[in-house]
């Protein structure tokens, strides 16, 4: 199986602070891969590097045969037509209706007739179960529905690579399950390759093919869901089972309690 995404010896930092260090990662075509880790560990940065929103300080990011480091702004825009991205809270255009949101890319990038765009848009909305809401505005949707509309918009032009940034955040259990199943179903039926950034362990383990664990900018573990569930690495164990203490300590580093209480005059 060939790889759609290949990241080699990647270093990335904001100013002098390195956020990602020596990342090597591959995503085979047709697979659904999760990148997991604690908040602030660099996983969203990794996703943005794959989408060309950020450029690697060192190393290479190759997506669909294009080395993103070398692309000009115009080439980057052309490359992004191969991508779809679902943002954390959907990022629907609030001044456009559900229908116009999904039709947006078709109108911007194709010469399709309005009748054809209408049919395609309704089919995309049907795929996420919201054809009946095409006339509504984003402000009238629940969080889960907005996420589904954003998903329909992201797949509007049948992208080669789908990027999901925390798609489960803030959803009720039913919406969460629906989004999870839709991500898997759309990946398989459209023949897309998907990268999912999340810290929702239980939902992700149900749907993904492979997992990379990032901690403090480094890949600390990787494997299939079964391998991850059975992992005896302390960090992975703490993360998967939500343990309070472990390699990630409960207490933020500080002086001794006695010292601080004396300081406060206690």
């Amino acid at each position: 199986m060939t790889n759609l995404v290949e990241i080699a010896n990647l270093n990335f930092g904001y100013n002098s602070r390195l956020v990602l260090k020596g990342i090597n990662l591959t995503v085979p075509k047709g697979s659904l891969v999760a990148i997991m880790g604690l908040s602030g560990c660099g996983k969203t940065t990794l996703l943005r590097l794959m989408g060309g929103q950020l450029r690697a300080s060192e190393g290479t990011v190759t997506v669909a045969g294009e080395k993103l480091n070398d692309l000009s702004q115009a080439e980057l825009y052309r490359f992004r037509r191969k991508l779809g991205m679902l943002f954390q809270f959907g990022a629907l255009f609030t001044d456009l209706s559900v229908f116009d949101n999904v039709a947006f890319q078709m109108r911007e990038h194709t010469d399709l007739s309005e009748t054809f765009i209408q049919d395609l848009t309704l089919l995309k909305l049907n795929a996420v179960g919201l054809r009946g809401m095409h006339h509504m505005m984003p402000s009238e949707l629940s969080g889960g529905m907005a996420r589904r509309v954003a998903l329909a918009r992201a797949i509007a032009l049948d992208p080669q690579l789908m990027l999901y940034d925390e798609p489960f955040t803030g959803l009720d259990p039913i919406s969460l399950g629906v989004i999870g199943q839709l991500i898997r179903k759309l990946n398989d039926t459209l023949g897309t390759t998907s990268v999912l950034v999340t810290h929702d362990v239980q939902e992700s383990l149900k749907i993904v093919d492979y997992i990379y664990f990032v901690s403090d900018g480094v890949i600390v573990a990787q494997g299939t869901p079964d391998e991850i569930r059975g992992s005896d690495l302390p960090f992975v164990h703490q993360f998967i089972w939500g343990e309070m203490d472990g390699p990630m300590p409960f207490h933020y580093p500080a002086q001794s309690l006695k010292h601080d209480l004396e300081l406060m005059g206690g």
Binding site: R80, F89, A91
Partner: protein, 264 residues
């Protein structure tokens, strides 16, 4: 001595920041201009912004114009009658409005009403990742979001300024002719002979075009560069109103000086 040095350092630092910001706005304006093709090819995008920035500012512009004209009528009549030339009140009202008050006051109102709205809208689109989403869909936000709003503002302001002046003249007529009893024929005929189309009306339109460019560039820039937080957007909105108002007043001085000298 140390205080003086640190004072000079602060002044220098602030001056540099202001110059840097003006440079950033100029560079942003250049970027808007080279990404403006879509705003004209798909003119409906710009027309939509003319509606939001222009049509929705109509009420405040028309009402303000009427009141300003009424006040001019009252003040003008009061002053001119001392010299026995109260029949010239129409000239005073028309020239004040067409040359100065129409372009300047409508620009200040436009900056507060539409400029702040443009900044807040673009800033919130950024904060809610709508601009990032657009970039990821291979659509340039400058071309799709910023440029139509910029041109919407540039087209709207001269039209609003003309309407402001027209309403002001009606206000002046209501006070001077209907209320005080100045001769209607003198009011209109003196105005007609004194107001020159090229020197007064066209120069007024040029002023409001320049103000439209300045306000729209500042409003879109502040929105686009706003930190993506509630505090960031609110700060950007305030900066739009303050910077636009100061820019309008400063540009008005420069333009008036050139116009009075006849651009030579």
């Amino acid at each position: 001595m140390t205080n003086i040095v640190s004072g000079i350092r602060i002044v220098g630092d602030r001056t540099l920041k202001i110059v840097e910001r003006i440079g950033a706005i100029a560079s942003f304006l250049f970027s808007i201009l080279i990404h403006s093709a879509a705003s004209f090819k798909r003119f409906s995008l710009t027309i939509r912004e003319v509606y939001f920035a222009g049509v929705q500012s109509l009420i405040i512009i028309l009402v303000s114009g009427l009141f300003v004209g009424m006040v001019l009528g009252l003040q003008g009549h009061e002053t001119l009658q001392r010299y026995g030339s109260e029949d010239s009140v129409g000239v005073l009202v028309a020239l004040s409005l067409v040359r100065e008050l129409g372009p300047v006051v409508s620009a200040l109102l436009f900056a507060s009403r539409a400029g702040s709205a443009i900044t807040a809208e673009i800033g919130l689109m950024k904060a809610t990742e709508q601009l990032s989403a657009m970039e990821m869909m291979a659509v340039n936000p400058i071309s799709r979001v910023v440029a139509p709003r910029f041109w919407g503002g540039v087209i709207s302001l001269p039209l609003l300024a003309l309407l402001f002046s027209a309403m002001g003249i009606i206000g002046g007529y209501l006070i001077a002719v209907v209320l005080i009893g100045v001769d209607s024929g003198s009011f209109w005929s003196q105005m007609q002979s004194a107001v020159d189309f090229e020197h007064d009306i066209v120069n007024g339109i040029i002023k409001s075009l320049v103000f439209g460019v300045a306000i729209s560039a500042i409003a879109t820039f502040e929105g686009y560069e706003a930190p993506p937080t509630a505090e960031g957007v609110s700060g950007a909105t305030t900066r739009t109103v303050v910077s636009s108002s100061l820019a309008v007043l400063a540009l008005d001085l420069v333009l008036t000086a050139f116009m009075l000298k006849g651009w030579n």
